[in-house]
């Protein structure tokens, strides 16, 4: 056991700079992809509730597509497929786009169910006091839906952080790929994969904690 741990002590100085850089790439991938997923998700959710049947159909199709196709396939399509049409992204941005588009389909459903959970009367009351539909959305529907959406949104963020490891397979220099490279050059796979496992856990645990805390508070709020 002690022997096992001393390996970390011996190698830490050479590993840490690469690992630290990779953590930032992982966080960057996750962060940008999350923002993209929220924008896509909001647009798709609004599209699914639009008056146009065509738009509703297209947006439903998007959700079904993203739900049914593995994220890895999306990533490969973007990174390896699109260049044959002359569209080239570097590995990082291909990862951001692939992860964001894929997660966007799920987030759209979270947004939609949150928005639909708000009673139409809340919105009508806002219109009745003289708000425009946009103002009613901004000041009433959205903040109300936000309270419902927040816990699942945090869970999505955790999923996304873990899924960002898929970008290793399109050579984005994130945590998983860095660990793999180090593992094959040092012949210490157990040590390195254990280390990244712990690092992912260290990143996701605080988020789970916050999510559970908020969920509990919401339940209290509803019970009042």
């Amino acid at each position: 056991m002690i022997e096992f741990l001393t390996v970390y002590a011996e190698n830490w100085a050479s590993w840490w700079p690469q690992i630290r850089a990779a953590i930032w790439v992982t966080l960057g991938l996750t962060g940008f992809a999350y923002v993209l997923a929220m924008v896509v998700g909001m647009l798709i959710a609004l599209g699914r509730m639009s008056r146009s049947a065509l738009l509703r159909g297209l947006c439903k199709g998007y959700v079904e597509f993203m739900r049914g196709v593995p994220t890895l396939v999306i990533l490969f399509l973007i990174y390896f497929g699109l260049p044959s049409f002359g569209i080239v992204f570097d590995a990082f941005w291909a990862g951001v786009i692939g992860l964001g588009l894929s997660m966007g389909g799920y987030i759209a459903e979270v947004f939609r169910s949150g928005l639909q959970a708000i009673h139409y009367g809340q919105r009508e009351a806002a219109l009745a006091v003289g708000m425009t539909p946009v103002q009613a959305f901004r000041y009433v529907t959205l903040p109300l839906a936000f309270r419902i959406i927040l816990p699942p949104m945090l869970n999505m963020l955790i999923l996304l952080l873990k899924d960002s490891s898929l970008a290793a397979l399109i050579t984005a220099p994130e945590l998983m790929l860095t660990a793999k490279d180090l593992a094959s050059s040092t012949f210490l796979p157990m040590h390195l994969y254990l280390l990244v496992g712990v690092l992912y856990l260290a990143l996701t645990l605080p988020m789970s904690f916050v999510a559970r805390h908020i969920e509990a508070r919401m339940r209290l709020g509803a019970a009042r």
């Binding site: 009367g121 009745a128 006091v129």
Partner: protein, 257 residues
């Protein structure tokens, strides 16, 4: 005689193939109080909701204060207003719903003040003063900092009334304001509405509280099957109805109470 505050002209509304309003004409004078009564499903709510264009009429026109409501004239054609123009007009009509619909993420004070702040660009302090004033009027000022879910139904409805009053409305619309309340809470809300009526406000009230309508309204309109079946001074219509359907409707209502 000055022009009426509200004029509803040949109002038609259908949902799909269901014709709900089949040509409603009515006028409401300044300071006048009209009660709309009628059997469930006859179109009372729809009529009220058309007045402030929460429902868009299929045919007919609404005039408020002599101005076309929800539409404008281009040449001799009527076209719908933009959402922005419509919102500005809606702000001049207060509406109170059966289900209150206070916004649960805002305090009582903010429920009342938010439209003034965000829509009318009123300074926060001024809007809060106004909120205090209208909340005092409905005897709810002491709950200003509470969230709606902490209030009883009757209290929530009174806050909803204050929210409407903060608009300084030309006209107040009530759609069965006490129907969702426990019986013991009905009185406080009716009292509040009664006080407002005594201030000479113009209002249109859908209600199943026949005795209240008789006492507070100047005029009662009995709607049946999407039209006006009988109307007249409140006491006359309720004490000596002519229309056969109205007679049986009133009979049923009395039985229930």
């Amino acid at each position: 005689m000055s022009e009426p505050l509200l004029k509803v002209e040949n109002l038609h509304k259908s949902f799909g193939s269901l014709d709900v309003l089949k040509g409603i004409d009515l006028e409401l004078g300044r300071g006048e109080k009209i009660a709309l009564i009628g059997p469930s499903g006859c179109g009372k709510s729809t009529c009220l909701r058309c007045v402030n264009y929460l429902e868009t009429p299929n045919r007919g026109h609404i005039y408020l204060d002599g101005e076309l409501f929800g539409e404008k004239k281009v040449g001799d054609r009527h076209v719908h207003m933009s959402e922005k123009e419509l919102a500005r007009q809606r702000a001049t009509i207060g509406m109170v719903f059966q289900g209150f619909y206070l916004w649960p993420h805002l305090t009582v004070r903010d429920n009342v003040a938010i439209a003034q702040i965000k829509v009318n660009g009123m300074a926060r302090s001024e809007a809060y003063d106004l909120a205090g004033e209208v909340l005092r009027k409905v005897h709810m000022e002491h709950k200003s900092d509470e969230y709606p879910e902490r209030l009883s139904g009757g209290q929530q409805q009174r806050v909803a009334i204050a929210r409407a009053l903060a608009q300084r409305p030309k006209l107040l619309l009530f759609d069965e304001p006490t129907s969702a309340l426990d019986p013991e809470l009905v009185g406080e809300v009716l009292n509040t509405i009664h006080e407002l009526a005594n201030e000479g406000r113009s209002m249109m009230l859908v209600t199943h509280e026949i005795a209240f309508a008789r006492e507070v309204a100047d005029r009662v309109i009995f709607m049946d099957d999407g039209g006006i079946a009988e109307q007249g001074p409140a006491k006359e219509v309720i004490d000596s109805p002519v229309n056969k359907r109205l007679k049986s409707f009133l009979g049923q209502m009395l039985e229930r109470h």
